[in-house]
C-alpha cells in the first residue's frame, strides 16, 4: 500500500513535469492523403524518371527545386517510355504511355492519361486505337500542347512516323497526319508543327479546327545529317527554336508561323575551342531562361560518339548578341538541364549520377535533391 502510494506519487509528478513541457500528441485522422495546389509555384518542376531497369514503372516526379524541406511533392506514373506535358491553361497533366495486359506481355493498350494537378488522380484516359504511340527515350517533342492547349499532339512511330491530334475539349483523337521520313513535333504557329527529316530537311504542317491538314511545306535539306547533324532537342526562346549541332553550330528557326523561317547560323565556340573539340552533349543538354540566355552543357575532347555523355561545364549565351556571357564549371558533370521560370530562376542539373544539383543561373551551387534512390530523371520540364 505504501509502496503503491510512492509509485503513484512518482508517476503523478512525472506527468506534471512532462505536461508542463509539452502538450500530448492528438489522435491523427485516418485516412489522410495530401493534395497540391491547382496552380503550382513557379519553382516546381517535373522530373521524368525513365527507369530503364523497369520501364513499365517510370514516373514523373514533381519537385520544388527552391525548397530545403518537403521538396518532393508527389508523382504520376509514366509507363513504358512514356512522354509528358503539363497544361498551362487547365489544371491538368498529360502522360502518353503504354500498358500490357500481363505486365510485360499480353495485349498492348496505348493511352493518354490525364491527371488533376491538385489530387494527382487520373481524371480520365484516352485510348489510342492504333497502339502506335512512339516509344523512344523520352524528350520534350513527343507530346505537345498547341493553340492555347486546345490540341494535344502525340507522336506515333511504328516505324512509320505520324502525329495524332487530340481535341482537349472532347478528348477525342480527331486526326492522324503522316510525317513520313521525318520525326518529332516542334510547335510552329498557332496550331502547326514542324519535324526534322532524315535528309537534313524539315517538314511543316498546319491543320484546321477539325484536325484536317491545310498546309504542308517540305524544306530542302539545310544541314548535313552525316557530317554535322542537328540534335533533335532544340530550345525554344519565345517563338524561335534554337537547334544545336554535334559540332557546336547554332541553327535558329523562327517558329512564329506555321511556315517556319530558317535563320542564319552561328557557333558556340571560338576557333581555339573548336580545335579543342569543345562540343555540346548529353540528353536534354540545353535550356533557356526568360531573358533569352541559352545554357548549353559542353564537353572537351569531343569525338564521334561523345554526343550523349554530358559535360563538365555549362556555357551561357546571349542569343541576341550571340556571345557567351558565362561559363559555369559544375561540381558534377551534367547529363540534362533545365531553368525554372521563377522570378529568381534556378538552374537545375540532372548529373551523370542521376540526381539534381540546383544552382543559381550565375553558377552558385545551392542544394542537391534526390529524385529517387534509383531514379533516372533525364528529362526535366520547368513549370509553365
Amino acid at each position: 500500500m505504501r509502496l503503491f502510494s510512492i509509485k503513484a506519487l512518482a508517476i503523478t509528478t512525472l506527468t506534471l513535469v512532462v505536461g508542463l513541457a509539452q502538450a500530448e500528441l492528438q489522435p491523427e485522422p485516418i485516412p489522410s492523403v495530401a493534395t497540391l495546389p491547382a496552380v503550382y509555384p513557379d519553382t516546381w518542376l517535373f522530373a521524368h524518371d525513365v527507369n530503364f531497369n523497369s520501364m513499365i514503372a517510370g514516373k514523373v516526379a514533381i519537385i520544388d527545386v527552391a525548397a530545403d524541406t518537403q521538396e518532393f511533392k508527389g508523382f504520376v506514373d509514366a509507363s513504358m517510355m512514356a512522354s509528358f506535358v503539363e497544361s498551362k491553361e487547365k489544371p491538368l497533366l498529360y502522360v502518353a504511355e503504354s500498358f500490357y495486359a500481363r505486365g510485360t506481355s499480353g495485349e498492348r493498350t496505348d493511352v493518354i492519361s490525364i491527371y488533376d494537378k491538385s489530387t494527382l488522380r487520373k481524371v480520365t484516359e484516352v485510348v489510342l486505337p492504333k497502339k502506335n504511340r512512339a516509344q523512344m527515350v523520352t524528350n520534350k517533342y513527343m507530346l505537345n500542347l498547341v493553340d492555347n492547349d486546345k490540341y494535344l499532339l502525340i507522336l506515333g512511330f511504328t516505324p512509320a512516323s505520324s502525329v495524332m491530334i487530340m481535341d482537349t475539349e472532347t478528348n477525342e483523337i480527331i486526326n492522324e497526319i503522316s510525317i513520313a521520313g521525318c520525326n518529332l513535333i516542334y510547335p510552329a504557329g498557332e496550331t502547326g508543327f514542324a519535324s526534322l527529316c532524315g535528309n537534313g530537311g524539315m517538314k511543316a504542317v498546319d491543320f484546321d479546327d477539325e484536325g484536317k491538314e491545310i498546309s504542308r511545306v517540305d524544306f530542302e535539306p539545310f544541314f548535313s545529317v552525316d557530317d554535322d547533324p542537328l540534335f533533335d532537342k532544340p530550345v525554344y526562346i519565345g517563338d524561335t527554336a534554337f537547334f544545336l549541332s554535334y559540332k557546336s553550330l547554332v541553327q535558329p528557326i523562327d517558329m512564329s508561323t506555321s511556315v517556319p523561317v530558317i535563320k542564319s547560323t552561328w557557333s558556340l565556340v571560338s576557333e581555339a575551342e573548336a580545335k579543342a573539340n569543345w562540343r555540346p552533349g548529353g540528353w536534354q543538354f540545353a535550356a533557356a531562361d526568360e531573358t533569352g540566355h541559352l545554357y548549353v552543357v559542353m564537353h572537351k575532347d569531343g569525338y564521334n560518339g561523345s554526343h550523349k555523355f554530358g559535360g563538365s561545364e555549362i556555357w551561357v549565351y546571349d542569343t541576341k548578341t550571340q556571345q557567351r556571357v558565362n561559363r559555369i564549371k559544375l561540381k558534377t558533370n551534367a547529363f540534362s538541364i533545365e531553368v525554372t521560370r521563377s522570378d529568381t530562376p534556378l538552374l537545375v542539373v540532372n548529373t551523370i549520377e542521376m540526381g539534381l544539383d540546383i544552382y543559381t543561373t550565375d553558377g552558385e551551387f545551392k542544394r542537391f535533391i534526390n529524385v529517387g534512390d534509383a531514379a533516372m530523371p533525364i528529362v526535366l520540364h520547368a513549370g509553365k
Binding site: 525513365v50 530503364f52 531497369n53 523497369s54 520501364m55 513499365i56 513504358m80 517510355m81 503504354s98 500490357y100 505486365g103 510485360t104 506481355s105 499480353g106 498492348r108 512512339a134 516509344q135 523512344m136 527515350v137 512511330f157 511504328t158 516505324p159 512516323s161 521525318c182 520525326n183 518529332l184 519535324s195 526534322l196 527529316c197 532524315g198 545529317v225 547533324p229 542537328l230 540534335f231 533533335d232 540528353w283 564537353h299 572537351k300 575532347d301 564521334n304 560518339g305 561523345s306 554526343h307 550523349k308 555523355f309 554530358g310 559535360g311 563538365s312 558533370n333 547529363f335 551523370i352 549520377e353 542521376m354 540526381g355 534512390d373 534509383a374 533516372m376 533525364i378
Partner: protein
C-alpha cells in the same frame, strides 16, 4: 555518387552504347570511363582494367576472327549499342535470352573488327517481351544520328513487330562486311 556506382556496376563502365533507348545511362558510364573529362569511379577503373563488368563472367564468341569479350561494353560489335547486353542475360551477342523474342525491325551500325581491320554492318536487334535484364548496361554512340534518321539511331525502342514491345536487352548481329567500308 552511389547511384553512379550502381549504374556503373550494372554495366556501363567500359563503354558502349548502343542499342536503343536507355543508352543514355550508359553514356554516362562511358563518359566516366572513356572520356577523361570525368573522374573515373573506382568501379569504373576496375572495369576498364578488366574489360568487363564486376560479377559477370567473361565470354568469347568462339568464332575465329571475332576478338574480345561479348560481356564487355568495349567489344568491337557494340560500337553503337545502347542497352543491356544480351550476352550477360542468358543470350549471346547475336541471340536473345530464352523466352524472349528478337525484334525483326531494327537499326544498323558499322563497326570495325580489330581482327581483320574491316568494317562490318552490325544489326542491333533488341530482345523483347520480358522486363529489362538489368545486367551490363552499355551505351556507345559511334555514328549514332538523331531520331529523325531512325535507322541510325539507338534511342528508339526497336521492339517493333514483336508480340510485346517491352525491351529486355540488345544484341549486335553481324550482317556482313560493309561494301564501302
Amino acid at each position: 555518387m552511389k547511384l553512379l556506382d550502381k549504374w556503373l556496376e550494372r554495366g556501363s563502365r567500359k563503354v558502349a552504347q548502343n542499342t536503343s533507348r536507355r543508352h543514355l545511362l550508359t553514356n554516362l558510364s562511358k563518359v566516366m570511363i572513356g572520356v577523361a573529362a570525368v573522374p573515373l569511379l573506382p568501379v569504373a577503373r576496375a572495369s576498364e582494367a578488366t574489360g568487363g563488368y564486376p560479377g559477370v563472367g567473361a565470354q568469347t564468341s568462339g568464332l575465329d576472327g571475332d576478338p574480345g569479350d561479348p560481356t564487355s561494353c568495349d567489344y568491337w560489335r557494340y560500337c553503337a549499342i545502347d542497352g543491356f547486353l544480351c550476352s550477360c542475360c542468358g543470350g549471346t551477342a547475336s541471340s536473345c535470352p530464352p523466352g524472349t523474342e528478337m525484334s525483326p525491325i531494327t537499326w544498323i551500325g558499322t563497326c570495325r573488327n580489330p581482327a581483320d581491320g574491316k568494317d562490318y554492318i552490325i544489326s542491333y536487334n533488341d530482345c523483347c517481351g520480358k522486363t529489362s535484364c538489368g545486367r551490363c548496361l552499355c551505351n556507345r554512340n559511334e555514328n549514332d544520328k538523331p531520331v529523325y534518321r531512325p535507322q541510325s539511331n539507338n534511342d528508339i525502342n526497336w521492339c517493333l513487330g514483336t508480340s510485346s514491345n517491352v525491351y529486355t536487352c540488345s544484341t549486335g548481329v553481324v550482317l556482313g562486311v560493309a561494301v564501302d567500308g
